[in-house]
């Protein structure tokens, strides 16, 4: 009983400490003061100011575009890679598995630095300035592609190997069997790989800062994402007040997502329980 109380208290204490900075930002998103810690009266003004800030909106849009495009590309490449590797000979499969581990454990700064050095290197040879949206995209794919691979791989391993043969047996050509049986079977893995890719891309700062060029909504200027924009701002001073409003919105979205996921999980568990009863 004592253990139960101590345990609960400890869990909630750490939880509060972890959320404290964000919660404070959220609290101060309802006042217009410049610094956190100053309360200049309750106000919703930061929210319209946030949406009027062209700078932030541009960065937000850029971030979303990059996240979606890089996640899509990484998901397609990673899924095909996982399928191909799974059906390759053992040696080839093990080599690909090991290679996939490299970017997983590699430090982001090394990924960013090495890619950038390579782009400079190639740019010098062919005399072209390489940095653009495309280099940025490649950088983000590098970050997320191994995670797509690792989330698809276990689904392939769990799949009954005779499913593919059953599809062929029923008259599906190999490509149809792939599309109608294998892909649907591994879809949960593909989906979680995609979500993970989005998360990694949204959060990334270092690779973006290194590999970006001009383009997207930033036009002639270097592409600005939320991460790079915020970093530039907080180097000079406190978090801009509008960003506090942004935090509040992001937090609400995240909490809604958590609630959604847990409801979905509970349902799945229940489904499984009823299935087992049969």
């Amino acid at each position: 009983m004592v253990k139960k109380i101590i345990g609960r208290c400890y869990i909630y204490l750490i939880l509060i400490l972890m959320y404290l900075p964000v919660l404070v930002l959220i609290a101060f998103s309802f006042t217009e003061a410049t610094n956190v810690g100053e309360w200049t009266g309750f106000s919703f003004n930061l929210f319209p100011r946030l949406f009027q800030s062209e700078e932030i909106m541009t960065a937000l849009a850029n971030t979303v575009i990059i996240a979606i495009t890089s996640a899509l590309a990484a998901t397609i490449l990673g899924t095909l890679g996982a399928i191909g590797a799974f059906y390759s000979k053992k040696r080839a499969r093990e080599a690909i598995d090991l290679a996939t581990q490299i970017p997983v454990v590699n430090a982001e700064i090394v990924v960013a630095f090495s890619l950038t050095v390579m782009f400079v290197f190639i740019g010098n040879i062919i005399n072209v300035y390489m940095f653009s949206f495309w280099t940025l995209l490649v950088g983000h794919i590098c970050l997320s592609i191994p995670f797509v691979y690792t989330s698809v791989k276990p689904k392939l391993q769990q799949m009954d190997p005779s499913l593919y043969e059953a599809a062929l047996d029923l008259g599906a050509s190999p490509s149809k069997a792939l599309g109608k049986v294998i892909i649907p079977e591994i879809m949960p893995g593909v989906f979680s790989g995609f979500l993970l890719s989005i998360t990694l891309s949204l959060d990334d700062f270092i690779v973006t800062a290194f590999t970006r060029g001009s383009g997207l909504l930033s036009g002639e200027k270097k592409i600005e994402t939320l991460s790079t924009l915020i970093q530039a701002k907080i180097k000079k001073g406190p978090i801009p007040p509008e960003m506090r409003a942004l935090t509040t919105i992001l937090f609400v979205v995240v909490i809604l997502a958590v609630i959604g996921v847990s409801i979905y999980k509970n349902r799945q568990d229940k489904k499984e329980k009823t299935r087992r009863a049969f």
Partner: protein
């Protein structure tokens, strides 16, 4: 011409994975509408054969003809053959209806159309929704699952999944239905039910069934024809009654049903001696031929011995008695030999009975041999016999009467001629009784694994296979289990050698 009579013919089909030959020269013709079962222990090549018919494996050599047409290299999705898989392989992301409709939705059917020029051309179209609907419903009706069309696969019981797997295959109206141990995952009661249902279904829809199982009872219950396989080789093809009553060798007899198997000798015209008695029989074998005899437990007739009894009749003592529901199973001892007998009559434990067997119930089988023969053996420079990797210290003077071996290991003939037998090819043979078996590796001449044991009444015939695929058959009193790791001890002085070719070519000056 002959090809036309059969729906499918396998001609000299061989499949090897690397050095391992899984199916060896498989020849079989199957008539339309037949229910054929491939029966054998695991690893006998039955599933591989089925997979070659389905198209998942390509034979290393040989041909598979479907209606006389070579389909050996046609991919599985283009064969009019469907499979019911061992663990069903139902698509978990589709419901019952969509699983059954899977093949139909992909199928293209030819139809004739008159084009603008007035010519009739053959075009292809998919089934319409309505056609698919009708076919799926009909298939679900056959398997008695009409109400479950919208159910998720994971909510079905094993038996129901099994039925859906069958419906999914037969809905495509294949010419041949392949079933790969389809009942293996079901419990005993369910399995019995499904056996009858499958048999019924076969009658109703009239297509050819090729069924793979290791369960002899299943094979006997369901099949028109049974193909017994062992080590990738067909042992016997026949209808269940023939296979049961007239097994061609001890392996088949042992594998199908319970049986008493004895070493026997032909001692006269239609007379065979085993259990130290002479029996009348109906199979004609040459005099003095060593044979195997099979007597089924239900064919052993017992009569109680009253008083002192008649010494001229075969007597046995009941040592075990087990009630099996409709009959008793007895184990009788005759001298040192055991006989298993079944009877509905109740005899007392430890009592004596007379034993009779009707001549037609004695199945006599040609014995492949009574000795191990190694035609690929050779001698090395130390005059040791080499069989695969094993070395034996044999007496090579047996190759030439009156000879001896000198210090330099040359064979010296009685006439003083010198022979160098290094690398001489010989045929070595070892009697089953001269081979001993001991537990564990590295305790004898050769290491191996027990792959087969057959009880011969008073001893076991045990087949030990080495890593180099060399077989040693031996007779032993002890029980060994398949898969035991053992060593084989051979008394080298008992190994008989025959030189390949003439001795003179090994002569040295």
């Amino acid at each position: 011409m002959a090809e036309k009579d059969y729906i499918i013919s396998l001609q000299g089909v061989t499949k090897s994975f690397g050095n391992n030959t899984v199916v060896d020269d498989f020849n079989l013709d199957i008539a339309k509408g037949e229910f054929v079962t491939f029966l054998g222990p695991s690893g006998c090549g039955k599933t591989t054969t089925l997979r070659m018919i389905a198209g998942f494996e390509t034979p290393t050599s040989g041909q598979i003809l479907l209606n006389g047409e070579d389909i050996t290299r046609i991919p599985p999705h283009k064969r009019p053959i469907n499979t019911v898989f061992q663990r069903y392989a139902l698509f978990p992301h589709l419901d019952v209806y969509d699983n059954v409709a899977f093949g139909l939705k992909l199928k293209k059917i030819p139809y004739e159309k008159v084009n603008k020029k007035g010519e009739t051309v053959t075009k292809y179209r998919h089934f319409t929704r309505q056609e698919i609907d009708e076919k799926v419903m009909r298939a679900l009706k056959i398997i008695d699952l009409e109400d479950l069309e919208n159910r998720d696969i994971s909510t079905l019981s094993g038996g129901q999944q099994q039925r859906v797997a069958i419906a999914r295959a037969i809905v495509n109206e294949p010419e041949i239905l392949l079933l790969d141990e389809p009942l293996g995952a079901l419990d005993l009661k369910m399995r019995k039910e499904m056996q009858l249902e499958l048999k019924d279904m076969h009658k109703k829809i009239g297509i050819t069934f090729i069924y793979v199982t290791h369960d002899q009872e299943e094979a006997l219950t369901m099949s028109d024809t049974i193909v017994v396989m062992k080590d990738g080789v067909i042992q016997q093809v026949g209808n269940p009654i023939d296979i049961y009553n007239e097994p061609v060798n001890a392996f088949v007899a042992n594998f199908i049903g319970e049986s008493n198997i004895y070493n026997a000798t032909m001692v006269g015209k239609l007379k065979v001696k085993f259990l130290n008695r002479v029996f009348d029989c109906i199979d004609d074998f040459p005099l003095n031929e060593k044979v195997d005899v099979v007597v089924r437990p239900e064919d052993v007739e017992m009569t109680p011995v009253k008083g002192e009894g008649d010494d001229s009749r075969l007597k046995g003592k009941i040592v075990t008695k087990i009630f099996k529901g409709i009959h008793y199973e007895y184990v009788l001892m005759v001298g040192k030999s055991e006989i298993v007998a079944q009877s509905t009559k109740d005899y007392a434990q430890d009592s004596f009975v007379y034993i009779d067997v009707e001549p037609e119930n004695i199945q006599i089988m040609k014995r492949s041999s009574t000795e191990n023969v190694y035609p690929e053996a050779y001698l090395d420079k130390n005059n040791k016999l080499i069989i695969s990797d094993a070395e034996f210290d044999v007496d090579i003077t047996q190759l030439l009467k009156g000879s001896h071996v000198d210090d330099a290991l040359y064979l010296i003939g009685p006439d003083g001629k010198k022979y160098d037998l290094d690398d001489a090819d010989v045929i070595a043979s070892i009697d089953f009784n001269d081979v001993q078996i001991v537990d564990g590796h590295d305790n004898g001449n050769v290491n191996g694994t027990v792959v087969e044991t057959i009880y011969k009444g008073d001893h076991y015939a045990v087949l030990v296979r080495t890593a180099e695929e060399e077989d040693y058959i031996l007779a032993t009193d002890d029980t060994w289990n398949e898969g035991d790791l053992v060593s084989v001890i051979v008394d080298p002085s008992k190994i008989r050698l025959v030189l390949k070719g003439d001795l003179s070519k090994y002569e040295v000056e």
